[in-house]
Symmetry: D2
Subunit: 244 residues, 4 copies
């Protein structure tokens, strides 16, 4: 968080070292690659914030996203997001096979999406599903009438071309036509996808990640690579398993 007030609001406790906040760069290379090259302090990123921000990134960078409008992001997550220590809700008989909307509103990572994309009205709704690693963010955005699918292809292709760990997944055939966290386990890739209802301007923008890689430690390694002038992909080449 850049602001101690925002921290207090979302974490319900005062920040204990507020004077450090403005020294840190938010550790998402797709947003801050240039600053990271000279950064001394880089913050860790939230996994659900990462998936949400990257789902919206092509729209934000291209100006297609009106930041004043309402944005809804539905995020489906695996059990590893809960951390290494169990709780009654992660006991296997209770956690296996769930579809559990545990946070309709107010998830802390929402604050990062607001801060980094400048959105004024965004809701993250969190649902646990039966999966260990992985998160899928599905964002619902209203675009200007007249926006065409081919405009979006152009926008996504550019973002993907500029970021080694972003890929566009949009196939007409086959089992994996859209981003799928299942095949990203252990990988640092964030797979993006979209579908536009040209008649209404309703856009569904998706991002799949492995929350334990691109969602947290993978991005941290990627940031370190940039800070030290290493190849950005160093130590992050694993491309995932299929089937898994």
């Amino acid at each position: 968080m850049r602001s101690a007030e925002d921290y207090q609001k979302w974490y319900q406790q005062p920040h204990t070292a507020g004077h450090w906040l403005d020294k840190f760069v938010y550790g998402l290379p797709e947003l801050h690659r240039q600053e990271l090259r000279t950064a001394h302090y880089v913050s860790g990123v939230g996994c659900n914030a990462t998936a949400s921000i990257l789902a919206l990134l092509p729209l934000a960078q291209s100006g297609l996203l009106d930041i004043a409008q309402k944005v809804i992001v539905e995020i489906k997550v695996g059990s590893s997001e809960g951390g290494a220590k169990g709780n009654p809700g992660t006991h296997h008989p209770e956690r296996s096979g769930v579809v559990r909307t545990y946070a309709p509103f107010g998830h802390r990572h929402t604050a990062e999406v607001i801060q980094e994309l400048g959105l004024s009205n965004v809701a993250l709704t969190m649902t646990s599903v039966d999966l260990v690693r992985g998160a899928l963010a599905t964002a619902h955005v209203q675009l200007e009438p007249g926006t065409l699918t081919r405009d979006l292809w152009k926008v996504y292709r550019q973002v993907v071309a500029e970021n080694l760990f972003l890929r566009l997944v949009k196939e007409r055939q086959g089992v994996y036509r859209v981003p799928e966290p299942k095949i990203l386990a252990g990988s640092n890739y964030a797979d993006l996808g979209f579908d536009l209802d040209e008649g209404t301007g309703h856009l569904v923008a998706m991002c799949a990640i492995d929350n334990l890689m691109k969602g947290a430690s993978g991005s941290a390694v990627q940031c370190m690579n940039i800070m030290f002038g290493f190849d950005e992909t160093l130590g992050l080449e694993f491309s995932g398993l299929h089937p898994i």
Copy 2:
């Protein structure tokens, strides 16, 4: 469908017996119980349509839902929705552990939601998750500013009181604080829940069902019970298993 034109639009083929359409009652007791008592023909209902309609029912019946506004329903579904016959996408190595948004728009059941609730702008987004039976619909609705959580409690309590197979699940503690399809397997209950951001009027309305019961055959039995004057719950008393 009530209209052959709508059928053509959503099913991409002409209806072969259009003159029968207006003889049928839509087979959801929570909407048409009175008509069902004297009905000769009752249509089957779509499982995802059922979950979406029931999630929105308390709002529709109380007048809190402005039917002109945009409604987004995110539905997470189990593999039994695909039917008894397999396809490449339901082969276990490809289907296990997925979080697969297979239909951002255009799911056929959308037509039933539009028809039955009179909505003009609704999108159903479908995501497959690792589960056999079950569907969870999470609807995002904008309410009039000033609506309070306690207003919604009243509205939900009334709907639940009038319908034997609807329950309100809204707990402050424990593992199952919200509707959860996992524990409804084999049961005809539809569990409703909601969460309101009073500051913005953003409402998240949920409905969990077993798609093979309340989503299809269970509702059909329930309709038959009503048509024949039987107890509405006859043959539908199974209350689900926990843990499962």
Copy 3:
């Protein structure tokens, strides 16, 4: 346990009320139905002991089982066997997708199999798999050379005929050709199956149960029904779900 010495051996602690031991009937109706009718005290049974004993029951009652020989029972179990309270091994990220042979030897339920069938050399090997409810016991037994499959059909048919909650599952076609715990969730049935290598006399005898029903509380209710002269199936009629 009938003997305080055996209790000490398998539970590594002295029995605190040894003088009560001989007042109790072991609560498995398939072994002690007659005694249960007049019993005042009935012991609970172990779920894995139940699956093992029932897998071997047709052989024991028909005299095909030589109790002096070595019997190996491999048992695959779901996570609900661990109880309602979690531990690090039942935390979903650690428990999902496991095939974990947690007790090659020495499982406490072995003592019940020895006591009830009079076996002198039996090993239960326990493996956790990804399932909530259910256990499958696969017993390996050496039969006298010359025993034929048709002899076993006769033996199994008789046992099944005498016990309402035992069924023989042995199909040539289809997906469910052998006992399968998955479809027994919530049911009190124990499904038996077998396959004989006539050339060597090696018999594989199987029993599938829901450990939370026939493996524990279901058998307890069944015992109570017998003790009170009720219909043995009272409250136990649920036949399971398919698919699940």
Copy 4:
């Protein structure tokens, strides 16, 4: 298979190129590393044969295994063993959560275990469990009375020291005390473990693999590395994911 007769017996059809059989080396480096260095033709290996052979390898090489005695191997397998094409049994609603002993006897891979270890009386019993990649073989062997656990430690340590892709997993504490296929997905390691009942000489010997790596293609790459004089681990360094 080395013999056309054995092929006919286990595959129920004549071998179409029997004169080629004796030109091939069985492609398991742990058995034939020396021959592979000069081999021109190498056969692929069965995944379940690999798990069974490696579970028994320390015993076979040390002379502790009496090949005339009965050996029982219980193998639990994931759905990827069924291949890339689905069938009614791999349709997710039917395959999810199963514990299905689909082949008590007669699995084709048994022939490889007999051929490679010279066993005269071995049974492989196959059970499908809910997992995509992975197989666990649990072998039951009767050792000479007087064999001690410390003798086995010595035997296992030597085999592990001589084979880069074999590891001994035998811990007193923690969640992963024994070989576990779950954490081997994508890895070429075969993890071995054992437990001995010193009183009876009953040994449980385990081997966990990823059937799509060490069970098939991984071993094939390993063989190629040896044939061409490359580093045996080339292209096979992935060590698995945890949690997964």
